[in-house]
Subunit: 348 residues, 2 copies
DNA sequence: TTGTAAGCGTTATCAG
DNA sequence: CTGATAACGCTTACAA
């Protein structure tokens, strides 16, 4: 059995209350006593049991993060942002992933009950967000990438629409007329918005969208590869393709290569997210930059805020994006990769 | 205030003990009572407070994972493996990263005390492993990628030496004589072992290693890019390069492109890890496959085992690796990427 | 089959 | 300044 506060108290010849005061700097303690207790605690290398503390204080100093999955750079960047922000504020992070169904999420939420003070839920799936409305949750919840219209919770989202629109407009500006889209799953809110951005950009430029130029992927490299192969097989094949995220864009790059096409000469490719690796693929990927880690850290800030002050109204925050032009789109005068020399074209 | 077991007991007209018995299927309860209690619990949508339960049962059903950082696909894959295995066993996962110094790690370990039943520590840094020897830890600890000689703890490592050796031998077999090495930091155990594998493979093949053909990176893409640039600038430049991990190999690929070199024609490049993206870069990367997620899930298994049975002896486990031949090394007859058609050459 | 009550390790209130 | 002692919410002997 580990050392408890009683052991320290006994050895120092005081009550547990006094020890507790010293450890937490709460209440007044004679300097002499303080020193003695500190000394004893060190000798015994005593560490407070945080479970007991949590129970007593009615707070755990931990936050939970629920993700649909942990795969690829996007998610790891989010976790990184969460972890760093949380740590800075003295909070621990509980991670749980692979929650795709409503039941799984509710089970996970339940399991976290009493274990965390608040939750961050990455809920890009629109079906789920909808069902979440009547969630019996007594702890603060921040939603990430969820459809803000559906939810009665604080929500952080990326400017998917603006970013998609901007990058497609960039392609149009380069003279492309037949621009293909590799979209994500229809039930994914981010995917929807990016599709909407693409459609509007095309429409407003007076383009007619060939239905065969829109194919669906699943946000993975292999999905992007498959989708791109499909796209390259159509009769009037596109000269440019907008993949709804970088993973799929990278898959598309490899599909183009397999098909013997040069990027960007034969096919321009652009992505979305600006994951760290985007600047190192060949050719470096033109994409829409999102401060992914910041998405995570902001979620933490918001959560901790609503932990402290009683929430007044629901807050919705939108993270801006910007197009980062590298070589895969075929724009000229683009610097080499490796440094922070990417050319940023437009905000959104 | 949330609903507690007392509320359920009161409403059901029984004692808290009985409610507890129903909830945990412990002890005998009359079928009628059981049903009534279950019903009431549902009505109130009662969820047990896990902190209280932890305190009472002296176990948290949570494990902690300490990482030096969360960056790149390697770490996210480890977390993924841990999370999945833990979830399957009914455990929660506490993640904490950015621990580089001995003090930070100790602080993190202390903070986890009472919060988790066991810990997984990714400790590739040899300095740290060494200091860890006299760690006052009362909870089970599993080390990942640590120097097994130093530690009195259960340790899981990758067969770094064998993998490195095999992939370098593969390059030698392709006729390369001047093979460069982009190694990781000297203090990193994985990096050391991979370097050792490279050196031995070269020596035993009777090669003389040009000192200028060994440069140091930091396991990141940008580090690999810089290192490769350096390597390509030496007078008698290598015809092949072994990067100690895939991130650096990808950086090297982009450096080669910047230098106007074709891979693999002008320069063969191989990596280590086989991160998911390796098969989608251009050209697809020949590398050493490590079951990264499995590293995480095995660590969980080991940890849970030592939670159940009193540990007898320290267990050290080595994960085997295999060379995956894709196009970046220049071997002929390599299938296209995209599928699971990689050619696996040799075990280690 | 059920209830009572003693922990689990802290914090915090209230007397002294 | 310090010490009893009652929470915190739950599990688990031990009694009944």
């Amino acid at each position: 059995m580990a050392i408890t506060i009683r052991d320290v108290a006994r050895k120092a010849g005081v009550s547990v209350a006094t020890v507790s005061r010293v450890l937490n700097n709460s209440g007044p303690v004679a300097e002499e006593t303080r020193l003695r207790i500190a000394e004893v605690a060190r000798e015994l290398s005593y560490t407070p049991n945080s479970t007991a503390r949590s129970l007593s204080m009615q707070r755990t100093s931990a936050i939970g993060v629920l993700l649909p999955e942990i795969y690829g750079e996007f998610f790891s960047e989010v976790i990184r942002g969460v972890d760093q922000a949380a740590r800075r504020k003295g909070y621990h992070v509980l991670v749980s992933s692979s929650h795709s169904s409503q039941e799984e999420i509710e089970a996970a939420l339940r399991a976290m009950r009493g274990r965390v003070d608040g939750l961050i839920l990455l809920a890009a799936d629109v079906e789920i967000t909808r069902l979440l409305v009547n969630l019996p949750s007594d702890i603060p919840l921040v939603l990430l990438n969820a459809d803000p219209h559906d939810s009665p919770y604080d929500t952080l989202i990326i400017d998917n629409y603006g970013g998609a629109r901007a990058v497609v407009e960039h392609l149009l500006g380069l003279g492309h007329r037949r621009i293909g889209l590799i979209r994500g799953a229809e039930r994914n809110h981010d995917a929807r918005e990016r599709t909407r951005g693409y459609v509007d950009a095309m429409r407003e430029a007076g383009m007619v969208i060939d239905p065969s130029h829109i194919v669906t992927g699943d946000f993975t490299e292999s999905g992007g590869h498959r989708a791109a192969r499909e796209l390259l097989a159509v009769s009037e094949r596109p000269t440019a393709v907008f993949a709804s995220n970088d993973s799929m864009a990278i898959g598309a790059l490899s599909a183009a290569e397999d098909a013997g096409l040069e990027v960007p000469e034969d096919l321009a490719v652009v992505g979305f997210d600006d994951v760290p690796i985007a600047q190192y693929v060949s050719p470096p990927l033109t994409t829409v930059r999102v401060a992914i880690a910041e998405l995570g850290s902001r979620a933490v800030s918001r959560l901790l805020t609503s932990l402290q002050v009683e929430q007044t109204a629901v807050v919705r925050e939108v993270l801006r994006t910007e197009v980062v032009v590298r070589r895969s789109c075929g724009a000229s005068n683009v610097p080499q990769h490796g440094g922070r020399t990417d050319e940023v074209v437009e905000g959104s």
